[in-house]
C-alpha cells in the first residue's frame, strides 16, 4: 500500500499552504474567541468589555475588537502556514495529527510570550488586564486548533 497522504503533501505549493494557514488562523481565532468568551462569562465579565480590549484604537468598541482579533489570528495563521511548509515539505518530516497539534501549541506559546512580554506592554494594550494564565490558555487553544486545522487541510488537498 502507498501512503497517499504523504505523497499529496509532497505536492503542496507554498502559496496554497499560506492560504491554508490564513483560513485555519481565522477559524482558530474563532475558537480562541469562544474560549475567552466562556472564561469571561465565568468571571462575570461582559463580552463587550472583553472584546473591547482588542480594539487597537483604544475606543473599546467590541465589534472592532472582535474583527481585530480575527484579523491578527489570520495573519498569525499565515505565519504558521510558512512554518508548516518548512516542516512538512519532505514526506519524512511530515507531522501526524498530534505532532501538528504540538507544533501549533509550541507556536502559540511563542506568540503568547512575544505578545505578553514585548508587543502588549509597548502598545499599552488593555489586554494586559486579563489574567496571564487565562490569556496563555487561550493561546494554547488557538495553537492546538490551528495545528489540527492545517493538518486536516493538508490531508484534504
Amino acid at each position: 500500500m502507498v501512503d497517499t497522504s504523504k505523497t499529496v503533501r509532497k505536492e503542496m505549493s507554498f502559496s496554497e499552504v499560506v492560504v491554508d494557514g490564513l483560513y485555519a488562523g481565522v477559524l482558530a481565532g474563532l475558537v480562541m474567541a469562544a474560549y475567552l468568551a466562556l472564561t469571561a462569562l465565568l468571571r462575570s465579565e461582559m463580552l463587550g468589555v472583553l472584546f473591547g480590549r482588542f480594539d487597537p484604537s483604544m475606543a473599546s468598541s467590541p465589534l472592532t475588537g472582535f474583527f481585530t482579533h480575527l484579523a491578527v489570528s489570520g495573519v498569525y495563521g499565515i505565519l504558521f502556514g510558512l512554518v508548516w511548509f518548512l516542516v512538512s515539505n519532505s514526506p519524512r518530516t511530515a507531522p501526524s495529527s498530534w505532532q501538528a497539534m504540538i507544533l501549533g501549541a509550541g507556536y502559540s506559546a511563542g506568540l503568547f510570550f512575544l505578545g505578553w512580554t514585548i508587543l502588549l506592554p509597548a502598545s499599552a494594550s488593555p489586554l494586559r488586564q486579563l489574567p496571564w494564565w487565562d490569556f496563555g490558555l487561550a493561546h494554547l487553544v488557538y495553537g492546538l486548533s490551528l495545528g489540527y486545522l492545517v493538518y486536516r487541510r493538508s490531508l484534504e488537498r
Binding site: 492560504v19 498569525y76 514585548i118 509597548a122
Partner: protein, 406 residues
Amino acid sequence: MMSNRKTTLLAWAFCGLAIASALFGLWVEFINRDSYASLMAFVSQAVWRLSPIAFALPAALIVSRQPRNAVGWLLLIPAVILFINAPLEPYMIGIASADIPLTPLLIFVAWYIGNSWLLLIFPLLLILLLFPSGKPPSPRWRWVGYAALFWAALFVLLSTLTDTFELGGLVFPIPFGFIPAEIVNLILVPWQFGLVALAALCLVAFIVRYRRGSATEREQIKWLLYACGVFVAIYIAGFVFDLGGSETLAGYVWGTILGLTIMSIPIVIAVAVLRYRLWDIDIIIRRTLIYGALTVTLGLVYFGSVVLLQSLFTAVTGQSSTLALVISTLGIAALFTPLRRRIQRDIDRRFFRKKYNAEQTLAIFATTARDEVELKNLAEALLSVVQETMQPDRVNLWLRKGESKR
C-alpha cells in the same frame, strides 16, 4: 383604453420629467458644492439626486416594450413621486423654520407629503407580488393585491378625516377632519401590523413563484434577488460599522454605495422583465461571491498585518512606521492570486457543484491521459469524461485505423 403608443408616450413623458427634475436638482447641488465638507460628501448627495432617473428609465423601457405588464407602471410611480417631492420637501422645511400662516394650499401640500411615502412603499410591495410577469403567481393570490390597495386607501382615508396631523414638528389642522388625532394614532397601530403582514404575504408570493416557476422565471427572479441581496449586505455593513448618517469619509462612501445599490434594483427589474442577457446572472452571482469574499479577506489580512507590524515597530523603535503599511500592501498583493484561486474553488464546490464536478473530472482525465498507454482504456476515459461534463444524449468515438504508427 389608451393605445400602446399613447401609453408609451405617457411613460416617456414622465421619464423625461423625472430626468429633468433630477438633473435640475443635481445642478442646484453643484452650484452649492462649496457648502459640502468634502468632495465625497457632494458625490454622496449627488447620487441620491439621480435616483429618480434610475426608476424612471427602466420603468419607461418596460412600459414601452410591455405596456400590459404592471411592473413597469409600478416602477414609474416612485419615479413620479420622487420628481414631485424634490421641490416640495425643501419648501416644507423652509415653512417650518419661517413661521408662515397656514393656507389651504399649504395644508394640502403638507397632507400630500405626509401620505406620499405610501406611493413609494406600496408599489414595491406589489412589484414583489407581480414580478416578473405583471400577474400574481396564481389567481388565488389576487386578493393580496386588492388587500394592499385597500390598506393604502384606508391610511389615506384616516389621514384625511383626522382633525390635525403633524409633519416636521408643525401641527396642521384639517378643515373637514372630525376624528381626533389620538384615536387615529390608536387605529394606526393595528394598521402597521397589517402592513407587515401584507409585506410578508408578498414575500411568500415571491418565494412561491420561484419554487413553482419555469427556468426562465427563476433566472428573472434571481436578478432581483441578487440586487436585493447586495443592497441588504451593504445596508447591514453600514449598520454594523455605524456608518449611517456619519459625517466621515467612510460614511459618505457607504452612503454613495448604498444609493447606487438602491438605484440598481429598478435597473435589474428591467433587465429581468425584458430578458436582456438573462442567463448571465449565474456568472454575475459567482463573480460577486468570489470577489466579495476576496475583498473582505484581503481587507482583514491587511488590517491585521498593519496592527501587528505597527505594534512590533512600536516595541522595537518606540514609534510607529510607514514601513508597516508598505509590508502589508506587498503581503496582500502576493496573497491575491492564491487566495482568489482558493475562494473560487470553495465557492464552486459549495454553490456551483456541476461546474466543480466537471473541473474535477477534467483534472482526473488529465492525469489519466498522462499515465495511460492503453488506447482502449484511454478511449473509455475520454467517453466517460465527455459523458460527465457535457451530459449528451449519446456519444460516439471514431478512431482512424492504420495511422497509429509513424
